[in-house]
Amino acid sequence: MDRTIAWFFAFNGISTIILVLGIFIFLAIIGLQAFAHISPFEFFFSTNWNPTSYVKPSWGILSLVVGTLYIAIFSLIIAVPLGVACAIYLAQIASPTMREILKPAIEMIAALPSVVLGLLGLLILAPLIADIFGLNSGLNALTASILVAIMALPTIISISEDAITSVPKSYSDASLALGANNWQTIRHVIVPAALSGIVAAVMLGLGRVVGETMVVLMVAGNARALPTGFFDPVRPMTATIAIEIKEVVVGDVHYQALYAVGLVLFIMTLAVNFAADIYLHRQEGNK
């Protein structure tokens, strides 16, 4: 009986690996076929993505990758300070009553459907951004980044808070006993001790940001041109796949090319996770 149950859990554990591997192989088999028709050089280094061009189809994903990176970087710049500060407040400073109110509120953000957030962005945030910065249109990288940052907040806050809470109380007691004040204790003792957990939280947030589709589809503007700044519209890889997969015929070059874009996206998120993993292990080694 014990053996059966052990097998059952082992199977469940292994199935996640099979799933990830299966998805990778599936993407690779279809995606790589695209390179029979598209030169890899054009695919990776051209900034012109226009498969349904009236003149000549072109397949450069560079501006799409740049679009994804723009949103990833800008939204982390917004979400990381806010998220980590919020986590420190929850774990160290907030009174129990305050925590009882804040925690469910933060979890509510995670429950918001992204279309709803996108709609609010389209109708309220985009015109506001256009007004504040004197732009013609608020459908740009900044608006999308703000909304995506909001979506990444619950992940960053709850995992960072866990990491900070799990720092042994003896650390802060020792620090305070030595005469450090609350701020010094947080800055020099607690945050460094919880750093590996905070980095993991940021990486998971980054994964969420890179993979987010609906919001960017609605507010990023999705112009094909290479973005040159904060206020330019961007067309990230997820939005491109979501827009174009609807019109492709199964087996077509365009279909294969979208799988190739998916493969690149998959490898990017995998690289982020690996980087996080390596960093975490190095941190553990230092202790």
């Binding site: 012109n48 226009n50 498969p51 349904t52 061009s53 009236y54 003149v55 429950a111 459907p113 992204s114 279309v115 389209l122 109708l123 985009a126 015109p127 256009a130 013609n136 249109s137 608020g138 459908l139 987010e212 589709t213 609906m214 589809l217 609605m218 503007g221 999705n222 112009a223 094909r224 041109a225 519209p233 067309r235 827009i243 174009e244 609807k246 019109e247 492709v248 015929v249 199964v250 077509d252």
Partner: protein, 303 residues
């Protein structure tokens, strides 16, 4: 977002399960395609349902390209399309054993719209094309105030996108042209209207059925000699004075079987009652040529 899709799936699955219990299998009709036509065809389906309570007509949007791809992939019985089917798509369909049949159910004028604060009221076809090719980039080049033009357009899945590309962006061009890559790709007619409403520098194109009082419709002329006409006046469209008009198509998966739901529904759309719905939805009824082309096919079904 995954959670959200999960909920949708459960609702859809539930609806399908209920549908299966209540309906005969032959009585349901799946229609998918053009976002421009989705409201019109949904109105048709509603009226049709009043007369045929057993029938189950499901209408979804997604864009003309999406609808035709679904027809080719065998997912739907009728594809709505605001552009004619391409030769490549006919080949792909035939490769899967499907021969699309074409019907024209309505006519549409495409309105070029700007923000009401914009003093520009008239443009020629050549000017509109040049604006979307980014050859004209400032409103002062077409008689407006100094300011960069922001282009609003549809996504490539849209028949409106392709129609406008072919007939306006490529208007009297010796070589084939593409949209300016700086054009914002919006989800639908409504999203373009909302964008232009909020953006004094914006220009967009939408089906006339989507024009509201909060945006200004540009009067368009074929060239400098001909007059400028508004698409909001039905007679301009019927007499062919307004240059940006197009038929709205439905493609069936093969020849519809006589007296089955596809045939019955098409006949309803082309009837006087159906064409009344077309006018109420803000589109224009089919003209004599369209009628002749439809009747040829209907008689082939009935013959």
């Amino acid at each position: 977002m995954n959670k959200y899709y999960g909920v949708i799936l459960i609702i859809v699955a539930g609806a399908l399960a209920l549908g299966c219990v209540g309906q005969q299998p032959g009585e349901s009709l799946d229609i998918k395609g053009s976002d421009t036509m989705v409201q019109l065809v949904a109105d048709m389906a509603e009226s049709y349902n009043e007369a045929n309570p057993d029938a189950d007509v499901i209408v979804t949007g997604g864009g003309s390209g999406t609808g035709i791809a679904a027809l080719i992939n065998g997912e739907v019985s009728i594809a709505d399309s605001s552009r004619p089917i391409k030769a490549k798509e006919i080949d792909q369909a035939k490769g899967k054993g499907i021969e699309p049949w074409e019907f024209i159910i309505a006519r549409d004028g495409l309105a070029v719209i700007v923000n009401p604060d914009n003093p520009v009221t008239e443009l020629t076809m050549d000017q509109v094309g040049a604006i979307y090719r980014a050859e004209i980039i400032n409103w002062n080049q077409v008689g407006g105030e100094d300011g960069e033009i922001t282009l609003y357009g549809r996504q490539s899945t849209s028949g409106t996108y392709e129609f406008f590309l072919k007939h306006v962006v490529n208007w009297e061009q010796a070589e084939k042209q593409d949209y300016s890559p700086g054009m914002l790709n919006m989800e639908g007619n409504k999203a373009i209207a909302d964008g232009v409403k909020a953006d004094p520098s914006g220009i967009g194109y939408i089906g006339v059925g989507y024009v509201t009082g909060e945006i200004r419709t540009i009067n368009v002329a074929e060239d400098n000699e001909s007059g400028y006409y508004s698409p909001l006046d039905a007679s301009n469209v019927e007499q062919g004075l307004y240059p940006i008009t197009r038929p709205l198509y439905q493609y069936t998966s093969g020849k519809p079987d006589k007296d089955r739901i596809t045939h019955d529904f098409l006949q309803f759309e082309l009837s006087e009652e159906g064409q009344k719905i077309v006018e109420n939805a803000g589109f224009y009824p089919i003209n004599l040529d369209d009628r002749a082309s439809n009747e040829e096919k209907i008689s082939a079904i009935e013959g």
